[in-house]
Structures are given as C-alpha cells and as structure tokens.
C-alpha cells in the first residue's frame, strides 16, 4: 500500500498559512498603490483643473461655467462628500475640455473683433475729413434745389 505525501499534516498547513499571510502582507502596499492610482486625489484634481481654468481665463475666454462647477466641488470637498465632489469635478473637466478645444478659434475671433473695432474707430477722423465737406455740400444744394436764381439787371 502506497502512502501519499503528507500534505495535510498540521505542520504543512501551518507552512501554507504562513506563506499566504507573508505574500499578502508583502503584496498589500503594491495593491493599495494600484488602488490609489485608480482613484484620483480630489484635491490634486481640483488644483489641476483650476490651473487649466486660469490658463484659459488669461486668454480672455469666459470660464464662468467651469468656475461654478469647481466652486461647487470645492464646497463638497470641504464637507467631506468626496464622491459627489468627484462627479462635479468630472463635469467641470468636460466643460473645460470643450472650451480648450475651441480656444484657438475663440481667441482669434475675439482679437479680430477687438482690433477691427479699433481700426474702425481710427478711420472715423479720416472719413470725417474726406466725406463731411462733400456730404455737407450735397445736403446744402439739395435743400436749395427749388431755389430760382434771378439775375437783376441794374440800370446804368
């Protein structure tokens, strides 16, 4: 009769248990690190989004909507409601990404409007100098178009 290796002896079970515990203890930090990497720190996220918002605002883009979401998220963070804060941060990030995508075109349009208006204002004196006398003369003659010129002959 053959004897099986003694795998179920108390000594062997203790060895297995010890090894498992050891592996779990050694692997725990690495597993926790992975878990932390997956769940972002809400404050780091807030700072990152705020930095991007300031960058956009300094280009003259209206970031009112993003600020509203970030402000709401900050209040939730201060109250310790992290899940809701992360949702709000997600909404802010979505809006921010949209604004960043269209930032180039928006800035160009704003600059064109600004410098176009400045050019129009600068041309007002020149236009006045060239057109005012002509317009005035035209209006002057038009107002007197029914006038009759009578040449009086004086006796000598």
């Amino acid at each position: 009769m053959t004897r099986h290796p003694v795998v179920s002896s108390p000594r062997s079970a203790r060895y297995l248990l010890t090894t498992s515990v050891l592996v779990a203890v050694l692997a725990a930090p690495a597993l926790l690190h992975v878990a932390n990497a997956e769940a972002p720190d809400p404050y780091s996220k807030l700072y990152e989004l705020y930095t991007r918002t300031v960058r956009l605002a300094s280009q003259g883009i209206d970031v009112g909507g993003v600020v509203e979401h970030l402000s709401k998220a900050l209040k939730l963070l201060e109250l310790g409601r992290y899940t809701e804060a992360l949702e709000e941060l997600g909404r802010a990030e979505g809006l921010l990404s949209e604004l960043e995508l269209g930032a180039g075109g928006t800035v160009l349009r704003m600059r064109l409007a600004r410098y176009g208006t400045a050019a129009a204002l600068a041309s007002v004196p020149l236009a006045t100098y060239l057109l005012l006398p002509r317009v005035y003369v035209y209006a002057w003659y038009r107002a007197r178009r029914r006038w009759v010129v009578v040449v009086e002959r004086t006796r000598r």
Binding site: V67, L70, P133, Y136
Partner: protein
C-alpha cells in the same frame, strides 16, 4: 463759394479725433490695470462693527470672512486662521510663524466676492497675554508654481480670553 465754414470744420475734426482716440484707448486698455485680492474679517452678522471683546477658551467664536477678487482670473484662495499675540502678527511679506488652527478654501471668480460664516476655535491653552490676536491670513494658489503662496494680506482682531 465756401459752403462749410473753415473754423466750424476744424472744431468738428478736433472733436472727432479726440473721440476716436478715447474710444481706441478704452478698447485696448487692459481689463485689470491694478490687480488685487481683498480680505475682510466681519462680525457674526457679516458686517463691520460688532466684534467680540471677550472670547472663551475651549469654545468657538463666530465670524464672517470676506474675500474679493480683482486679479483678472478666478482666484483659489485659502483663509488661514491662527491665534497669537502682538509679537506673532504677520507682515506684508511674511506670514505669521504660528501653527494654523483652521483653514477655509474658496474659489472666487474675477470681479466677484465671497462672504462666508466661520467658527474659529479658541484653544484650551491660548497664548499667555493680556490680549490675544485672532489672525486670518489670505493665501493664494499659484498655478505656475503649483502650491500655496502668502498674498501679503491679513486681518487681526485683539480679544481678551476668558478661561473657564
């Protein structure tokens, strides 16, 4: 025949040139010429005036804090509360060396302001002095450096601590 009088035309041209120059200057000037952030310590009714003269050790005292923003961009501001004596007051360049007892973070849009109620704890063992200073400092998040920077603005209120 000179229909338009020369002097009248000169006056019209002068008015036009001045108006045009003013318009362009108004259009091209920077939106914020002197950026600043403001900090205010208000009483429990959120106005200036009815500040407490005595506070109790181990209890909280209620105030309102005002933060204003004219920096030209949204401001991430942190109001830091410290309790010290006259010797511990901050300056325009350096914050107080005391340990912060509580801080409050707010985001204020450009041109806006935020007023919020706070409850400031008075420790069981406040500084030994005839009168102590409730100090609030304004710190701003610096997006370029990625950290908090002291703005140089602070408020303080002297109170007498009643030990119970």
């Amino acid at each position: 025949m000179n229909v338009l009088d020369g002097e009248v035309f000169a006056v019209i041209m002068a008015v036009t040139i001045v108006g045009s120059a003013l318009g362009i200057a108004q259009l091209l000037r920077p939106e914020v010429s002197e950026p600043f952030a403001a900090l205010g310590l208000l009483d429990r009714n959120c106005v200036i005036g009815d500040y407490p003269e005595y506070v109790f050790a181990g209890r909280e005292v209620e105030f309102c804090i005002f933060v204003g923003n004219r920096m030209g961009y949204p401001l991430l501001a942190r109001v830091v509360y410290k309790l010290g004596t006259e010797a511990d007051l901050p300056t325009n360049t350096t914050p107080s060396g005391l340990k912060p007892l509580r801080n409050f973070t707010v985001l204020v849009p450009h041109g806006g302001n935020e007023t919020f109620r706070v409850r400031l704890p008075i420790p069981e063992d406040p500084p030994e002095a005839d009168r102590v200073a409730i100090i609030v400092e304004l710190w701003l998040y610096d997006p370029e450096r990625g950290g908090w920077t002291y703005s140089g603005r602070w408020n303080h209120l002297y109170v007498r601590v009643v030990r119970v």
